[in-house]
């Protein structure tokens, strides 16, 4: 304890988890030891995209020496899901994507489990598949979920039984009807852009694949160790689905090797629990291979988006007519809320008087579309932020000025009828313009190269139920070091570090005195946290930590006040010492925070071990009208930001080199500015990488690139050398010290910023992700004769 950082909020203190991680000591699920009774599970995946299951014969697998059990959907036909309970843990009567879990094999070794999985014989009767969400939403499309009307669903999601639409969000604002924006409004537009943009499914590709270990004891106690962003949500879903009392269901989650949303909600964990149920008392481990990770866990949804947007001659946006068809994949238990989020934020960060928006989540026979960093926002901004540039160009305005003129500002009545909370998007735009040298043309590095700059802005609200809660506990030790108990997961974003900073700040003790006791998060001992998603931890968990620390602080001040015979209001804690502003007395926290303080002449004692608890739950979010999407408060808040890209294109090959990305986000208050910067940098490269990523399926729905050989992530050479970040701090009313989240936002608009820069360089628009050198080349060399002799 050499260094003493008092008042650490706002300071770039070092990460609490860094030492463990650089020494290889940090434990992830696969690093935990489970002893000699450990068994290994392997999931049998469907090889077909859409089929009825006629028969499953596991006899050959069971006959293999070393095989302990085979479980199938017949064993436990229970439905599972976060917002919409639409999937069986193991396929029951039909499969809906290549990769779906059909059976689980448990054996004494990984090799035997793998071998046995191949011996499970499944007879399928093929059904016509649906791959395109727009086609799939049509009334005559083959139906994937005939029972959609029977599934249990939360009250803010609106499936359309008898179709493949699992969620339909309607937004109606101004002079619009279900038929569209009024013709009179369109007539006022000086220019209108109408176009379609699409994105393929992409994968989170955390470096750690999904892994889970489960043990079902004969006494009914069930334990799951999982690489999970959502230990409590998983406990709840498993308990509900499998009829386990919540108190008997325990989820333990240590460090996780990257999440990005892929480890939110529930994926393979229930499958492993059912395997464990078949071999009572034995832990069963399932570690997904990279190939399985691609097809059989979660992916980002695809999107077909149709836009019609108009503005007047002065560049004022007048109308938007938007239709978003999310390719939700085979099961939309989480994905429905992505379409909903895209619906209530469908305009992007713009103030538009007339809006008709329809956002659909559509079942397709592809992998399960689920939460991914940005949660619908990267998808809708891809087209929106290009169309804004096109409108600006059409009326002869600078694109950045156009965006600045139309962007949301504090006090605006935004699309849902909600009043826009305090954020400063214009300042973000100004910052990135300056950082990128907006309007200045740079010289290319070679005659066959072109330079271009592009800019895009974004908004995103935490997308979640109205009332997700956080709680925290702080507990003092004899030497006044403090343990902070939270269940927000450290997925790399620095959650533990900011929790420690906030606890120290609120209590008045040095940062170095705080230990975060959240590794692993253990639902048996850790305080409740909904999920590590939605960029909500700094804000929501932070509020809980602050409340817990203040609770503890209040107890301490009461004790000392009694001991001194003073008013607690005159006391404070500074740098770990209680002081009185009135009497100028001082009292160290050491020992007293556990043993209390003796009364004068040792006539009894004050106090006792200090334990503070705190909670936070937003209580003000209202429902929205299902026909119009209107309501008083659609979301808790929005984080906004701007990004600009400077790139160079090789016109001979189409290769794109992003030279610089500049970002600015309004985070309310940077609890740890350098950690905010690491989010900005990492997010920019994630966004850049995602613009070149795509899952490519064949006509049977089989993934053609299920490995890093052909699903390429950006490497150290592909990442830009220069990543600039500006932090804007417009305090959030109910954020701890004014903070709001920024973890997801940092990648939302990178792809359209790149597309806008490409247009600036080449004069060519790209409507369909992923980008590639090939696409750029072919688009800029149309009509080239490419018939060769050989």
């Amino acid at each position: 304890m050499k260094e003493q950082t008092s008042n650490p909020v706002g300071k770039s203190v070092p990460r609490v988890d860094a030492f463990e991680k650089v020494t290889g000591a940090a434990k992830y699920v696969d690093d935990m030891a489970f002893g000699p009774t450990l068994l290994y599970g392997k999931i049998v995946h469907s090889p077909v995209a859409h089929a009825l299951i006629k028969k499953i014969d596991a006899s050959k697998a069971l006959a293999l020496p070393g095989v302990k059990a085979v479980v199938t959907g017949q064993d436990s036909p229970t439905l599972l899901g976060l917002y919409l309970k639409d999937r069986y843990i193991y396929a029951y009567d039909r499969v809906r994507y290549v990769g779906e879990s059909v059976a689980g094999v448990v054996a004494i070794s990984e090799e035997i489990a793998e071998q046995a999985a191949k011996l499970v014989e499944v007879e399928y009767e093929l059904l016509p598949p649906v791959f395109d969400p727009y086609e799939g939403a049509k009334p005559d499309a083959p139906l994937l979920h005939p029972d959609l009307g029977k599934y249990e669903v939360v009250n803010f999601i609106f499936p359309e039984p008898g179709t493949n639409v699992s969620e339909h969000f309607r937004l109606r604002k101004g002079r619009v009807s279900d038929a569209g924006v009024s013709d009179e409004v369109w007539a006022q537009c000086a220019t209108i852009v109408e176009d379609q943009y699409t994105l393929p499914q992409i994968q989170h590709a955390p470096i750690e694949t999904h892994i889970a270990v489960a043990q079902w004891n004969p006494d009914g106690q069930v334990t799951l160790w999982a690489a999970s962003q959502s230990p409590f949500a998983q406990r709840d879903l498993l308990a509900q689905s499998l009829g386990i009392p919540h108190g008997n269901m325990r989820v333990i989650s240590p460090y996780i090797g990257g999440g990005f949303g892929g480890k939110a909600g529930i994926s393979i964990e229930a499958n492993v629990v059912l395997m464990a149920k078949a071999v009572p008392g034995h832990p069963v481990k399932v570690r997904m291979t990279r190939e399985e990770e691609f097809v059989a866990t979660n992916v980002r949804q695809s999107l077909v988006a149709k836009y019609k947007i108009g503005c007047d001659k002065d560049g004022n946006l007048l109308a938007m007519d938007l239709a978003y068809y999310f390719g939700g994949g085979a099961y939309n238990d989480y994905g429905v809320n992505i379409a909903r989020a895209a619906g209530y934020s469908c305009t992007g960060p713009y103030d538009v008087p007339n809006v008709k928006g329809d956002s659909y989540c559509v079942y397709t026979n592809h992998p399960i579309g689920s939460a991914m960093r940005g949660f619908g926002m990267p998808e809708i901004h891809w087209g929106l932020e290009q169309i804004m540039d096109r409108l600006a160009e059409a009326i002869g305005m600078d694109a950045a000025d156009f965006k600045r003129q139309n962007c949301v500002r504090q006090g605006d009545t935004i699309l849902t009828g909600m009043t826009m909370p305090n954020v400063d998007l214009p300042q973000c735009i100004d910052k990135v313009k300056e950082a990128i040298g907006w309007g200045r043309v740079s010289k290319p590095s070679a005659p066959h190269k072109r330079r271009g700059k592009g800019l895009a802005i974004m908004w995103k609200a935490p997308a979640m139920p109205p009332n997700p809660g956080s709680s925290a506990i702080v507990r003092f030790n004899e030497d006044a070091t403090l343990n902070v108990y939270v269940s927000g997961q450290e997925i790399g974003q620095g959650a533990f570090t900011v929790a420690a900073q906030m606890a120290a700040e609120a209590l008045g003790i040095p940062y170095e005195w705080v230990r975060v006791s959240a590794n692993p998060v253990d639902t048996k001992y850790s305080p409740y946290e909904w999920q590590t998603v939605a960029s909500r931890l700094t804000w929501s968990m932070g509020n809980a930590v602050k409340a817990a620390a203040e609770h503890a602080r209040g107890q301490i001040l009461d004790i000392v006040a009694k001991y001194w015979g003073e008013d607690p209001a005159d006391l404070d804690i500074k740098n770990g010492v209680v002081i009185s502003y009135k009497s100028e007395r001082e009292q160290s926290l050491k020992k007293m925070v556990v043993y209390g303080l003796p009364n004068e002449n040792f006539e009894g004692w004050q106090g006792g071990p200090i334990v503070g608890s705190g909670k936070f739950m937003p209580t003000y979010v209202t429902g929205l009208d299902p026909n119009t999407g209107q309501g008083a408060r659609a979301v808790v808040h929005y984080t906004v930001g701007a990004q600009a890209v400077d790139l160079e294109v090789d016109t001979d090959t189409g290769q794109i080199e992003v030279l610089k990305i500049a970002s600015a986000y309004d985070v309310g208050k940077a609890i740890n500015p350098d950690l905010v910067m690491t989010q900005i940098e990492g997010g920019a490269v994630h966004g850049l990488s995602s613009a070149f990523e795509g899952m490519f399926f064949d006509a049977q729905g089989r993934l053609r690139n299920p490995s890093f050989v052909d699903y390429k992530l950006a490497t150290s050479l592909d990442a830009p050398r220069e990543i600039h970040g500006d932090i804007v701090e417009t305090p959030l009313e109910d954020g701890p010290w004014g903070a709001r989240g920024v973890g997801e936002h940092v990648m939302v608009q990178t792809a359209p910023a790149i597309a806008n820069a490409l247009y600036n360089a080449l004069g060519v628009r790209f409507n369909h992700l992923p980008l590639s050198a090939e696409k750029v080349y072919l688009a800029t060399h149309e009509g080239e004769e490419l018939t060769c002799k050989a």
Partner: protein
């Protein structure tokens, strides 16, 4: 991973005994960077793998009167830095080795493995084609040498017979003054497979230059672009270069795959060939 047995023979006699074990699927192992993923994914199901790295000469680079003999188990990283390979004569091979994979892969992957996998996109192949190398093949019956052009029969098909081993490559010294360039186009800047790879080599002859040009990833096997070479042998003014790149374009017959369409590959052949040619021209005195 499906279990197999591992042996590391130190004599060829023992190696050939193992390679011809009755009723066993036997595969040689060098750098393992292809073998392990192929076994893991069950494309290959060997019962026995024979590590060839202990066999005499397999890891050696030796200069002989007829040229450079590079053992089949010499790793890419060694090709990059070996004083003989990375000399003016054979430096093209060092360039190709450097273009392959990433650091971790180059520290394991071997020249023999790169060739025996017989991927049309193998980075070392175009270089060896232009250097007119010969595959040195040894079997129980003895040794034979096969021009590298005849070594590749198709994707993942080579001239190796059952029980035979590629033990090395003989690379004749190109004439004095030869310079070469390998240019590779891939999706990512490094650590990726070639969409197109072009090796070009030229040396002074009779007051002019003789050119060798080879193309990777644009046909079922790596190929020589002989018409392009003939064109360049006549001179290298802009019109000739343009014509030569057209010849290279005409020599290829790529396919669509996940990495690129045939269309894009075709378009890129002439562009990458031009870069390779210009790279050579820049080095010519």
């Amino acid at each position: 991973m499906r279990p197999f047995d591992y042996y590391r023979p130190e004599t060829f006699e023992e190696a050939f005994r193992l390679l011809t074990l009755p009723d066993k699927r036997v595969m040689p192992l060098a750098g393992a960077t292809d073998l392990i993923p192929m076994v893991r994914d069950e494309h290959w199901q060997p019962d026995v793998v024979v590590d060839v790295k202990g066999l005499p000469g397999m890891c050696d680079v030796v200069e002989m009167p007829e040229g450079l003999i590079v053992g089949a188990a010499v790793r890419m990283v060694e090709l990059m830095h070996h004083p003989l390979v990375n000399s003016p004569r054979w430096n093209l091979l060092a360039q190709a080795a450097a273009a392959m994979g990433n650091e971790q892969v180059r520290n394991r992957a071997t020249l023999g493995g790169n060739l025996c996998t017989a991927s049309p996109a193998a980075d070392s192949a175009p270089a060896l084609l232009t250097l007119e190398a010969k595959a040195v093949i040894r079997g129980a019956a003895g040794e034979r040498r096969v021009p590298i052009t005849e070594f590749f029969l198709g994707p993942r098909k080579t001239a190796l017979q059952k029980g035979e081993l590629l033990i090395g490559v003989l690379i004749p010294a190109p004439p004095v003054g030869a310079v070469g360039t390998y240019v590779k186009l891939s999706r990512r800047k490094a650590g990726d497979l070639a969409i197109v790879g072009v090796a070009a080599l030229a040396y002074p002859h009779d007051g002019g230059h003789v050119w060798c040009l080879a193309l990777g990833a644009v046909a079922p096997t790596p190929i020589r672009a002989s018409e392009a070479e003939a064109a360049l042998n006549a001179g290298h003014d802009e019109a000739t270069i343009e014509h030569a790149t057209k010849c290279a374009f005409d020599a290829c017959c790529p396919i669509d795959d996940i990495r690129a369409s045939a269309e894009y590959r075709k378009a890129m052949v002439s562009r990458i060939a031009r870069r390779a040619i210009e790279g050579v021209l820049a080095k010519l005195p």
